[in-house]
């Protein structure tokens, strides 16, 4: 079990741009994608009507029976990665895919469900059948990607709340390390739907003003949409085919609070453990990490807990490690977030630049970290950690190195 795993392609689509470079340029400039959540039905009694919504280019999967936004976005982000990083057809044909999502297909399923109720709970015709079947399966986006690129490797879809695509990355990494596969795509995708928006509204976790993780005046999160992909392969395989290596995935850590279905364990012990495990696997000392892309959701409990956990995991070294939450710009993209932020982490190494937390005016004293405030920071970047801390107490940390 000695295969080294490298990153040879990245791609994403978000509210900040319909391709990765546009998204990344906006992130570096501290721009935010926050607007009105116009893909969902806004109930006037919702505490907020904000979201970071993808400005939609619907051209892609035309002709398909189901044009679910999550399918379209995932396919587009893979297509972009394929083009930007010269991933040949035969590589995608032989590779496997692991997708993390919480609601792929849900907007299609909601459309079907409303008709089903209106028709006295009957399935009426092929459209009902197809939208109901496809939309009821969170794996629908992955299945369309497999068809589009005729993939034949191992495949799975994971739903582990906000850590879904971070775990997809761990699974893909392990499959390569263990020799189950030479090349894997790790991906994340989530688009807004009524179930998600109403659920987060009911939990009273939504920001209704400016999205500002770690700020004293923060009130919660703004939901967002994104698709993100990463081509992972064994170092040997990448070198053999002359692929451009962008970074190395050096270590992963996971842990579980086993505490509550939504609230994190505020002592942060388990989240700290997941960071320590990732450092250990990457064979790095805490002071060797240059930057942490925080989970940083902007909820009161998460930001304090994550701060505590970073301090526990890194000790005094935390004072010199730059930290930011790119969610302040992309919104919280739920199942897509882990991998989207992993893509940003890889881009930090590629471009030697660290993105800021937008709108962070007055850092909360309980979140006293070495924040990058509002402006990106140019510096030599050798090692980056990204955290994903999900509902159900799941914690995942990934370490990328040059």
């Amino acid at each position: 079990m000695t295969n080294n795993v490298v990153v040879t392609g990245v791609g994403c689509i978000s509210s900040l741009g319909n391709n990765m470079e546009a998204t990344w340029n906006s992130i570096i400039q501290g721009k935010t994608g926050v607007g009105r959540a116009d893909r969902v039905k806004i109930d006037p009694e919702y505490p907020s009507s904000l979201a970071c919504t993808i400005k939609f280019d619907t051209g892609y999967n035309e002709g398909g029976l189901v044009n679910d936004p999550s399918i379209i976005e995932l396919l587009q982000s893979i297509q972009q990665m394929k083009k930007d990083y010269d991933a040949p057809d035969e590589i995608l044909h032989s590779c496997g895919i692991v997708v993390g999502t919480t609601a792929a297909g849900m907007s299609t399923y909601e459309r079907f469900h409303e008709r089903y109720n209106k028709n006295n709970r009957r399935i009426c015709g092929i459209n009902d059948l197809y939208e109901g079947m496809v939309g009821s399966l969170l794996s629908c986006a992955m299945e369309q990607a497999i068809i589009m690129y005729n993939m034949t490797g191992p495949s799975s879809t994971i739903e582990t709340a906000c850590a879904s695509s971070a775990i997809a990355c761990v699974n893909a990494y392990d499959m390569i390390r263990l020799g189950n596969a030479d090349v894997m795509i790790a991906a994340g995708v989530d688009m807004l739907c009524n179930a998600t928006y109403s659920g987060f509204s009911s939990l009273r976790l939504m920001e209704d003003d400016v999205y500002r993780p770690f700020d004293i005046n923060r009130k919660g999160l703004v939901l967002g949409e994104a698709a993100s992909v990463m081509l992972l392969e064994s170092e040997e395989h990448a070198k053999q085919r002359g692929a451009r290596i962008i970074a190395r995935l050096s270590g992963c850590g996971m842990s579980c609070d086993a505490y509550d279905m939504t609230a994190p364990d505020t002592e942060g012990g388990e989240a700290a453990l997941s960071m320590c495990k990732a450092l250990k696997e990457a064979k790095l000392n805490p002071e060797e990490i240059d930057y942490i892309n925080a989970h940083g959701t902007g909820t009161n409990l998460n930001d304090i807990m994550e701060t505590t956990a970073i301090k526990r995991a890194f000790g005094d070294a935390h004072r010199n490690i730059k930290v930011s939450s790119t969610k302040s710009m992309t919104g919280h993209t739920l199942g897509a977030a882990g991998l989207l932020e992993a893509v940003f982490s890889v881009l930090c190494i590629r471009d030697n630049i660290l993105p800021p937390t937008a709108n962070l005016e007055t850092p909360d004293g309980n979140c006293s970290l070495n924040h990058i405030i509002n402006n990106a920071l140019k510096r030599d970047v050798k090692a980056v950690m990204t955290n994903s801390l999900g509902f159900g107490g799941i914690n995942v940390s990934l370490v990328f190195t040059r």
Partner: protein, 394 residues
């Protein structure tokens, strides 16, 4: 040198009993249940979960928490501060709580999104069962939920990966599923499932099968790193000797009638090199009575270089199609076949009516020594898996 993975515990809640013994005895009787939907009659959540927690959980989560608890008891494993962080859960749930989601959406359609229930929202997520298993047992390693239709067997493979990658010493792997009317309606409309009028001919690998019956329940097995199991003196049911999986570019509603993707999964499982295909003693098929996938599976099996007249059986005319839980139910049956030297028959099967003139285990159970078994999984959507388990030899 990769870690070896053994199985040290089985726990389940099924339509034919909520203990591993009653489950296997019922399978061996070969009695096909009556009706297109297989209910769970002898399950009381309060036997396993405190009333306050159980009230918030969906059926799927209740079944899962109970089955996981039984598997831990069967493995004689107590979780405390000394080991909680080296244990994880990898579980499958294809539809999450289909019924819970149906109610949730109906509620927001009628009354508006602001009337959504936060408790319902959190508990209808697919991952709710897995998270509840961790919370209820203080499991702190990790939890992962797989959601594809064929993710039941995959959960066991990914669980074994976690041990081989040294992320845990012990992983509870399996799945949980509950029946919901809306998913049943979709299944019937798509002709995947039988109806009230033709359920009697819902028989796996039968040439006139009318589709699958609906099952539900949960099954978990305890996967353990071999040395860890030996050191604590655990009973070892068997060893995971190989596995492989493969995608197929088909789409949500289709299967390859030639079973080419499943063939690749078989090849990958045997390529792990621990068991030769000629040494497989029986096959626990994924077959559920939906003829296109049954036919693809048998075609893939027929291309294997295996013993002539190898016994092939399937459990789904006795328990129904349980999606995310099915793979673990197949493994639980195969492990007990290995330990008791008896293979259960396909309930309702007569070999005169077998698919494509094949011969399967039918009528009564078959007494035979099983040293290694192949378990397969093929589903519409093109996700295929194969798992090989063997009697454990140090």
């Amino acid at each position: 040198m990769c870690k070896r993975v053994v199985i040290t515990g089985i726990g389940l809640v099924s339509p034919i009993g909520s203990s591993k013994d009653t489950y296997f005895e019922s399978l061996c009787k070969g009695i096909k249940l009556d009706g297109p939907v297989y209910p769970i009659n002898d399950f009381k959540a309060s036997d396993y979960i405190n009333a306050n927690s159980a009230r918030k959980m969906t059926k799927s989560a209740q079944y899962g928490v109970a089955a996981a608890k039984m598997s831990l008891e069967d493995a004689n494993l107590e979780i405390d501060e000394s080991n909680s962080r080296s244990i994880g859960v990898v579980a499958a749930s294809t539809f999450g709580s289909g019924g819970g989601m149906d109610k949730y959406l109906t509620n927001i359609e009628k009354y508006g999104g602001s009337k959504a229930s936060p408790i319902a929202f959190v508990n209808i997520m697919h991952q709710a069962t897995t998270a509840q298993i961790c919370i209820n047992n203080k499991i702190q390693g990790f939890h992962v939920t797989l959601v594809t239709p064929g993710s039941g067997l995959l959960a066991i493979e990914r669980g074994a990966d976690m041990i081989r990658a040294e992320r845990a010493n012990i992983v509870l792997s399996g799945g949980s599923e509950e029946i919901s009317p809306i998913i049943m309606d979709l299944g019937k409309a798509g002709s995947f499932f039988c109806t009230d009028d033709d359920f009697e001919k819902s028989i796996p690998l039968h040439n006139k099968s009318t589709g699958s019956c609906y099952g539900q329940g949960s099954c978990f097995v305890v996967l353990e790193e071999m040395e860890h199991a030996i050191n604590r003196g655990a009973h070892i049911y068997g060893e995971i000797s190989g596995y492989g999986d493969s995608a197929e570019a088909l789409g949500t509603l289709w299967v390859d009638p030639e079973g080419n993707g499943l063939g690749r999964a078989f090849e990958r499982a045997f390529n792990m090199g621990n068991v030769c295909s000629k040494n497989i003693d029986c096959i626990f098929a994924s077959a559920n009575g939906y003829r296109p996938s049954d036919r693809g599976e048998i075609k893939a099996i027929s291309r294997l270089d295996i013993k002539e007249n190898i016994p092939i059986t399937a459990v789904k005319s006795t328990i129904g199609e349980c999606f995310g839980a099915s793979g673990a139910f197949q493994v639980a049956a195969a492990l007990q076949s290995m330990n008791k030297s008896v293979i259960p028959p396909i309930a309702g099967m007569s070999n005169a009516e077998a698919l494509d003139d094949n011969r399967f285990v039918s009528g009564s159970s078959l007494k035979i020594n099983v040293a290694s078994a192949l378990i397969s999984s093929i589903y519409p959507g093109g996700e295929n898996s194969a798992l090989i388990i063997s009697k454990w030899n140090k």
